[in-house]
Symmetry: C2
Subunit: 201 residues, 2 copies
């Protein structure tokens, strides 16, 4: 019994360390993708950035594809959680919700995801993984959007209205890739927030 | 006089050949970008695809950046011309115009442009060229959209409404990158065509 307890005590910090290593690798992978693109993002580069040996990185993620799809999924989940936390009482002012949804698609996380998508369109090894990931993340985001916008999808056209809004958000993310598009985006979001509020009522 | 005329006669077919070579290079460059991405698109690969010597390719386009930005600009101009030709009488049924605008952002030309944008976000040599090109093509597309949608930009919010539509079109292009998103896109476009028609009246 004493030996079992001692074993548990030893294992817990080890698991914590392992979890912390994994998380450092995932965060480094996203930062690396956003900064250097797919061509410049290898397991070695990420391991070095995370301060982890290449062997330890490969223990957690056997292939390059494993590492980068897990990384984009990890940050997408983090962002979903953060989005829900912004509106703890559920449905909220629609203009604020539209703004928060669009914010999901600007910044380094979207940039990293975009690099992964574009690379997947030319790499057969990557494509099925990213396609599946994109579908999963897209469904989750749609689900949150419907809930927070208090959109009644049983009414004709409402589902497509929300989908179009999320497509617009992705397009706004793309427009922010090369230049700071913040001022224009602010005006577009304000106007479409008003339109959506009317259409969804 | 006879010698001058003879010189002219000789020069005309040479100019034609030169123009045809340039055009073949531009078309091969776009196809190459769409299929292989920026990393797989070099002047040599494009020259071979176009059936042109590497030297001739470099005569027309001294750098890789020259070739690919010229190529994306060339096809963007072709598509603008084709879009105007679809609606020769100017303003038209808004649902049809929305559909035609969204069509600009699906298919190999958008895919090629997307590869160029994403590469430009990580390559300092490419970024200013592509930023400038994107701004120019974006302005031209906005101009055509305003005209064909019969949108009165002197009214508050109309400019931002049209901009948001074009952002949505780019987002729909992105959603079509890894899978055939045609059926979903069709429903989104139908719904947003209705919304836009009401908002703009």
């Amino acid at each position: 019994m004493g030996a079992v307890n001692a074993g548990l005590v030893d294992r817990v910090p080890k698991q914590d360390r392992s979890r912390a290593t994994r998380q450092r690798l995932l965060e480094a992978a996203v930062a690396c993708l956003a900064e250097h693109g797919w061509a410049g993002s290898t397991v070695s580069v990420v391991a070095e950035r995370a301060g982890v040996s290449r062997g330890a990185a490969q223990h957690h993620f056997p292939t390059r594809e494993d590492l980068f799809t897990a990384a984009v999924e990890y940050v997408a989940e983090q962002r979903s959680t953060a989005l829900r936390a912004l509106f703890p009482d559920g449905p909220a002012d629609r203009r604020a919700v539209v703004r928060a949804l669009v914010d999901l698609y600007t910044g380094p996380v979207f940039r990293a995801a975009l690099h992964l998508w574009v690379a997947a369109s030319n790499e057969d090894q990557l494509r099925p993984r990213v396609t599946e990931l994109e579908a999963r993340v897209g469904r989750e985001t749609h689900h949150i959007a419907v809930e927070l916008l208090d959109a009644d999808e049983s009414r004709p056209g409402v589902r497509e209205t929300v989908q179009g809004l999320l497509d617009m958000a992705r397009g706004l993310g793309l427009a922010n890739l090369l230049t700071d598009d913040g001022a224009r985006r602010e005006r577009v979001v304000a106007q479409w927030g008003n339109i959506l509020d009317e259409v969804l009522d």
